[in-house]
Symmetry: C3
Subunit: 352 residues, 3 copies
C-alpha cells in the first residue's frame, strides 16, 4: 500500500491530475485494473485499453497523457518508473535475523549479527556470511565460501567451497554455484581421467542467478561473473567462462569452457556458445542460435530457424542436404550458358 | 502381486484362455518375461517375441490373440490397459501421516491431518497442505502456498510463496515452482533494473512436473498451467506463460515469457518457444525446433535438422551461407535464358 | 603442498634440471605462476609464455624442454601428467565418518562404519551406503537405493528408490537420479494416463554426474549408465537409455527415451538425441546438433549452424524456405538448356 505521492517519488514520475494522498493498494494491467489499483502503459499493444481503464492511476509517457482517464504518473521512461513503483507492492516476506534452530552452522563459520540462516541450511567451516544476507531454507554454503553483504539465496541454493559472491547477489532456488568444471584428460586406455578443478568462482555485485542455473568453478583460475550480470533459469556456465558486466542471458543458455562474453551483451533463450572464444561488448544473439566462432563487432546475430509445417520442412531439409549438388548443377548451367551465348551481343549479328 | 482377474478388471481387458485366480508377481517385456510375469504387446517391434514368450499372461489387442501362447488380456487399447495394469505393480512406498520430527513447519501453516510432511522439509507461514498430500524429504513450501489434495512432491521440490497447486499434482525432485520471472528494465546507465515479479503460479489438477523443471511466477498476473498438463524434466517455463489443458512437453523445452500454448499440444524435446506468441490447440512440434512466430493451425511443425557426417555438414553449412548468391545467380541465368530463347517457339522458325 | 619428487612420481613424469626436494605450494598457468608454483604446457597457445615463466617447475613434453627456464617434469602425455599432479593440490575437504546429528537415517538403512552422512541428509529404509562413501549436505537417498563404495554425493543430490550407484561415482549438487520417466498413454478422452515407471537406474563404476543433471528410471527395465561415463551439468537422460562405457557428454545434452549410445562416444554441449535409436561406438557429435536417426559408423557428425549477422541470417533463412522452388527452377532451366543446346555441337552446324 502506498500513496500516489509516494509512488511518484519512487518512480521518478510527475503526478498529473490526481491527489498525492490517494491510497493505492496494488498493481494491475490496464484492462483489469479496478479502483484503488495502479496501472501502466509500457507496451503499445496495451494502448487500446487506456481510454477505458478503471485504474486509480496510470504510469505512462507524456505522449499518452491526453488519453488517460485517470490521474497520470508521467515519465520519459515508463518501464523504469514501473519497475521502481512496483517494488513498493512486492510481498514483504517476513524478515528474520539469526540462525534458525534447524540450521546447522559450523562453529568455524562467521555469520554477521544481522544476517539470517533459514531452516535446514548447512553452513560449513570457514564460510563468511556478511551483513544483511538472507539465506533461505535448505541452502548449502560450502567451506570458505563468502556471501557478500545484502545478498539473498532464496531456497535450496548450493554455494560450493571457496566461491565468492559479491554484494546484493540474488540466487533463486536450485542454483548451483561452484560445482566442478567438466575437465577430463583421455588416458592411454580410453578412460577419462578427472582433471582436478582447483579454481573458484567470483560473482560480482548485483548479479541475479536464476532457478536451477549452474556455474562451474574454474579449472585453475576462477570463473568470473562481473557486476550486474543477470542470468535466467536453467543456464549452464562452464569453467573459466567470464561474463562481462551488465550482460543478460535468457533461460537455457549454455556457455562452454573458457568462453569470454563481453559487457552489455544479451543472449536469447537456448543460445549455445562454444568454448575458448570471445564475444565483443554489446552483442545480441537471438534465441536458440549457436555461436561457434568469436564475434568481434557489436550487433545482433542469429542462426535459429523457425518452424514450418512438418511436410514442408521435411522437403526443405532434404533439399538442404543436396545444396552442394545444387551449386554444382548451377555452375554447369552457367558454363553452358556462357559457351552458348558469349559474347551474347554477337548472337544476333551471328544470325544476320 | 495381483491375480489375472484383478489385472483384467484394472486394465479394462477381457481375460481369454486363462484362470482369473492365477497370481502374477511382476511385469516384464515379452522377450524377458518368465513364469509368473505379466507382459504386453504395444509396439509392433515386439511382435516377433510374442509366439515364444514365457509370460504368464499378455496384454494385447484382438488382432494378436491368435499368436499368443499364454493367457491373453484382450483390449482395443493395449497401451492404456498396460498403464492401468502396471499401476498394480508399482513399488508401494511406505505411507506416512503427520509431520516428520526433522521437518520445520511454521505454526501459521495449515496441514491436513492425513497429509505427510517428510524429513527436513520447510513449510512457511500461511502455507496450506490439503488432505492426502505427500511432501517428500527436503522440500520447501513458501508462504501462503497451497498444495491441493492428493498431490505429491517427491523430494527436494521448491514451491515458492503464494503458488497454487491443484489436486493430484505430481512434482519430481528438484522442480522449482514460482521462482521470479526474468523481468528487467534497462536503466539510463546501461544497468538492469529488476522488475518486481508480483504475480503467482496456478497449477491445475493432475499436472505432472518433471525433475529440475522450473516454472516462473508471473510479473503481475499469474503463470498458468492448466489441468492435465505433463511436463518432463529440465523444462523452463517463463513468467506469464499459459499452457493449455492436456498438453505434454518433453524434456529440455524452454518457453519464453507470455507465450500461450494451446490445449492437447505436444512439444518434442529441446523445443524453444519465443515470447508473446500463441500456439493453437492440437499443435505438435518435433524435437529441437524453434517456434518464433504464432501457430494458428493444428498440425505438426518442425525446424530441426538432423546430423550428417561432419565433413558433409561443413560443406552444406558453407553453401547455406551463400544461398542468397545462389538465388541471384539463378535469376541471372533465367533472364539470359529468356533473352536467348523467348519466344522459344520462334527459335526453330528463326533458323528456318 | 608436495615436493617435485612426489609430483614427478604422481604424474609419471621425469624430473629434469631440478631438485626432487623442492617444495611446491600450488599450481598456476605459465604466465601467472610465481616462485613455489607448479605450471604446465598442454595447449600450444600457452607456448609463448614458456620462456619467461617464473614457475618453480613445468610439466611439458620433451619437445619443449629446451625452452624451459625452470626445472622440467617431462612426459609424453602432459595433460594426463597434469591431471595426476594437480590432484595433489586439491583442497582437502574435511574428512568425516559417521552420521551428522541433523541427518535423518532410517533404522532400516545400512550405513558402512566408515561412511559419512552429512547434515540434513535423508536416508530412507533399505538404503545401503557402502564403505568410504561421502554423502554431502542435504542429500536424499531413497528406499533400497545402493551407493557403491567410495562414491561421493557432493550436496543436494537426490537418489531415488532402488537406484544403484557403482563404486567411486561422483555426483554434483542438484543431480537427480531415478526420477520417473516420462511415460504417458493417451486416454480415450484426450487425457494423459501415467504409465507407471517400474524400472530402476544402474550407474556403473567411476561415473561422474554433473550439477542439476537428471537421469530417469526405466519404464520397466533399467536405465543404464556404464562404467567410466562422464556427464556434465544440466543433462537430461530419459528412461531406458543406455550410455556405453567411457562416453563423455557435455552440458545440456538431452537423450530421449530408449536411445542407445555407444562406448567412447563424445556428445557436444546441447546435443539432442531422439528416442529409440542407436549410436555406434566412438561417435562424436558437435555442439547443438540433433541426432534424429541411428548412427552406425564411428566418426564426427554435425547439424549445428553458427551465427551470422542478423540481417544476413534473415535473408538466408527466408531463402532456405524457398529451397524447393530453387530446385524446381533450376530443373526448368536445365531442361530448357538441354532443349536449346542438345546436342550442343550441332548448333553451329545448324547455323551453317
Amino acid at each position: 500500500m502506498a500513496t500516489l505521492g509516494e509512488i511518484a517519488a519512487a518512480a521518478g514520475a510527475r503526478l498529473q491530475g490526481g491527489d498525492a494522498a490517494t491510497v493505492i493498494t496494488s498493481v494491475a494491467p490496464l484492462n483489469r485494473a479496478e479502483s484503488g489499483q495502479l496501472s501502466f502503459l509500457i507496451h503499445p499493444r496495451y494502448r487500446p485499453y487506456l481510454t477505458t481503464t478503471r485504474a486509480a492511476a496510470v504510469i505512462l509517457s507524456s505522449a499518452d497523457v491526453a488519453n488517460c482517464p485517470a490521474p497520470a504518473l508521467v515519465t520519459d521512461h515508463p518501464h523504469i518508473a514501473y519497475a521502481r513503483a512496483a517494488a513498493l507492492f512486492a510481498l514483504a516476506t517476513e524478515s528474520h535475523i539469526g540462525v534458525h534452530p534447524t540450521a546447522w552452522v559450523s562453529p568455524e563459520a562467521c555469520i554477521a549479527a544481522d544476517a539470517w540462516i533459514g531452516p535446514h541450511c548447512t553452513v560449513e567451516a570457514g564460510a563468511v556470511i556478511e551483513t544483511g544476507v538472507v539465506v533461505g531454507p535448505n541452502c548449502v554454503i560450502g567451506e570458505q565460501a563468502v556471501i557478500g553483504a545484502g545478498s539473498r539465496l532464496v531456497a535450496q541454493v548450493t554455494v560450493c567451497h571457496r566461491v565468492q559472491l559479491g554484494r546484493r547477489v540474488l540466487a533463486h532456488p536450485g542454483a548451483v554455484i561452484g560445482s566442478d568444471g567438466f575437465g577430463l584428460a583421455l588416458d592411454h586406455d580410453g578412460r577419462w581421467l578427472k582433471v582436478p578443478q582447483l579454481g573458484g568462482v567470483q560473482i560480482g555485485d548485483d548479479v541475479e542467478i536464476g532457478a536451477n542455473t549452474t556455474i562451474d568453478r574454474g579449472a585453475l583460475e576462477d570463473t568470473v561473473i562481473e557486476d550486474g550480470v543477470k542470468l535466467d533459469n536453467q543456464i549452464q556456465v562452464a569453467h573459466n567462462v567470464r561474463i562481462g558486466a551488465h550482460s543478460a542471458l535468457a533461460g537455457c543458455v549454455g556457455i562452454a569452457g573458457s568462453a569470454q562474453i563481453g559487457r552489455h551483451c544479451m543472449l536469447g533463450g537456448g543460445v549455445g556458445v562454444a568454448g575458448h572464444l570471445e564475444i565483443a561488448d554489446r552483442v545480441q544473439v537471438t534465441g536458440m542460435s549457436l555461436v561457434a566462432q568469436s564475434i568481434t563487432e557489436p550487433g545482433a546475430y542469429s542462426s535459429g530457424l523457425t518452424v514450418e509445417p512438418n511436410r514442408l520442412w521435411n522437403k526443405i531439409s532434404a533439399r538442404l542436404r543436396r545444396l552442394d549438388e545444387l551449386f554444382r548443377r548451377l555452375a554447369v548451367l552457367e558454363r553452358k550458358m556462357n559457351q552458348n551465348s558469349t559474347p551474347p551481343s554477337l548472337i544476333p549479328s551471328d544470325r544476320d
